[in-house]
Amino acid sequence: MTLTERLVALLDNPLIVKDAVSRMRSWRAPVILTIYLGLLGAFGYASFVTATVLQSSQRAGSAQIGASVFASLAFIQLSLVSLFAPALAAGAISGERERQTFDVLLVSRMTAVGIVWGKLVASVAFMLLLILSALPLFAAVFLFGGIDFEQFVITQLLTVTTAVTIGAVSLFLSAVFRRTLPSTVVAYGVAFAGMIGTLVAGLLFTFALMVRGSAGAAAQAGGDFHPLLFTNPFYALYVVLNDANGTPMHVGRLFQLLFFVTGQPSTIGPTLEPWQATILIQIALVALSVIGAVQLVQARRAPMPSRPPEPQEPAAPDEPPVPAGQEVTP
């Protein structure tokens, strides 16, 4: 089997086609796309105006304007993606169950892996479409200069991996919960914790590290950031866009700081940029979510009946059957 055949086989999943067709036929698809691009465009324009007004006095070049507009676009896109992703994926499996089509899928030749993979691709595909459709906007701002190609690529990559991660975690939750509503609520909670919670907690912990660090070795070059920040896509994006050199840290040092050890910096392991650390964490999260979802789908092959048996009026003569061999009286 050649590589292309393998790729085609991976995407030749009935669920991908079915979900894509029925999603694109609904009125929601064009509306979501319009809202997404509209918001992105509006914010982009607003930041362009702000940048020109603020920086006109300083006779700023187009590069500075470009960099600042690009940065705000990237942040807004990342926020929008994390807002849309839970809604798009949290009903993937619970929706099949609610529509009572899940059993029928289970008795088909579809494997648990096939079902989870198809659902993941189907829900992530729409987010990729959103990200792709915003590329021209980024490309236009890119022309102003101020952003190099590497920053451009990493920005888009981080957005995609964040979308896939939130999608995968939401998919896992949609396998955990029988209903789409609780699954969506929890998915938003998790997305919020991952996008905002880690940022706030990471900043607080970093502050704690700074306080402790200044009490001890005052000569902390560059400062220590708590590793929780390294898991946060917003922080990763911020570093990519604002610090050309980045703030690479050794893996060993990250583990030291995780447990608030501020002593002699360890140099064990390769160095990681925040965006690299973020993507590694995200890959791990996606893998765990997919494995978890597959396990849950597999387990549901022999589930409880969709309706519990209706309560019967108790039949008086029915004693519970005593298994043979247990009738021995003491």
Binding site: S26, V107, P311
Partner: protein, 314 residues
């Protein structure tokens, strides 16, 4: 083709199946009858590899269901007691989707969908979105869906529930047609008359236990002791009725003659020639207004068997 032996299943401490036994030979239509909550759906879900029994075995085509669920899934077409349909898919796409799920190769999917739509008489609705179809049409589409991989066994859970009489008849004809195609069919219902003239084999279940099961004629004989004929007379009064009863009571094949609601009910043996009884009555000068088999009698027997005070068959 289907063998179910001593199935036992509990849900949260409540017994769902206590002792379920039946067999369905190849090519038969098995009517699985019982009140709501008797355990029909649970049994069918076990056969469909969607539930695991606590004890007992279920075998389809010689394969134990929990030994090799994959092989069993290839053999069965399962239609649940609810129909799940997708929004914004046409009837044809719906079938193609399930054909793909069942591993039907690409180039076969369209022809398969077309053949099945033809079979369930929905060919002219192929391009309509599934959610715009009537309930009867959706039900037939779901039956078509259960056939995409050409299974030899069909497990149909209440396929006629919620249908109007016309749609019920269409569904019944469809099931007959499938039998002619050589399929073995298990069809459940909580209403017996729906199945009485369709099924060749029958099984009664009540509160998780089989009450009776076997070929239709055997079960009928066992629970009814013969068939019943209803004879109505012109201007019937007791004198005429008693006179008529005396004419026929001693004939061979007649088990019992009773007076019911100003008419005679004659219990006869299964092989009794009804027309001879009519002939005898007419020759004796009895003015017969109507002469007909009592219908729904199996239902009464079934109600008796499964009623609150029913004696349990071990």
């Amino acid at each position: 083709m289907i063998e179910v032996e001593a199935l036992h299943k509990r849900f949260a401490g409540q017994v769902a199946l206590e002792e379920v036994n039946f067999i369905v030979p190849r090519g038969e239509i098995f009517g699985f009858v019982g009140p709501n909550g008797a355990g029909k759906t649970t049994t069918i879900r076990i056969l469909a590899t969607l539930a695991v029994p606590d004890a007992g075995t279920a075998t389809i085509g010689g394969i134990k269901v929990d030994d090799d669920p994959h092989a069993v899934r290839e053999l069965i077409g399962y239609m649940p007691d609810f129909f799940g349909v997708y929004d914004r898919l046409t009837a044809e796409e719906y079938l193609q989707f399930y054909a793909a799920c069942h591993g039907v190769p690409h180039r076969r999917r369209r022809p398969v969908a077309h053949e099945l739509l033809e079979l369930v008489d929905l060919a002219d609705r192929a391009g309509d979105q599934v959610d715009t179809l009537s309930r009867g049409m959706k039900q037939r589409l779901c039956l078509a869906r259960a056939l995409v991989h050409d299974p030899s066994v069909l497990l149909l859970d209440e396929p006629a529930s919620g249908l109007d009489p016309r749609a019920r008849i269409e569904m019944r004809e469809l099931i007959r047609e499938l039998r002619r195609m050589g399929k073995t069919i298990l069809v459940s219902s909580h209403i017996l008359p729906e199945l009485e003239e369709l099924c060749t084999w029958v099984g009664f279940i009540d509160r998780g236990r089989m009450v009776a099961a076997g070929p239709m004629a055997d079960v009928r004989n066992r629970v009814l002791v013969g068939r019943r004929l209803r004879v109505e007379l012109v201007d019937a009064d007791d004198v005429k009725l008693f006179a008529a009863r005396d004419q026929i009571a001693d004939r061979t094949g007649v088990i019992e003659v009773s007076l019911v609601e100003n008419a005679l009910e004659v219990a006869v043996e299964e092989e009794f020639a009804d027309q001879e009884l009519l002939l005898a009555l007419v020759q004796a000068g009895v003015a017969v207004r109507s002469f007909a088999p009592v219908t729904g009698d199996l239902s009464e027997a079934f109600m008796r068997l499964t009623g609150p005070g029913a004696e349990r068959a071990g």
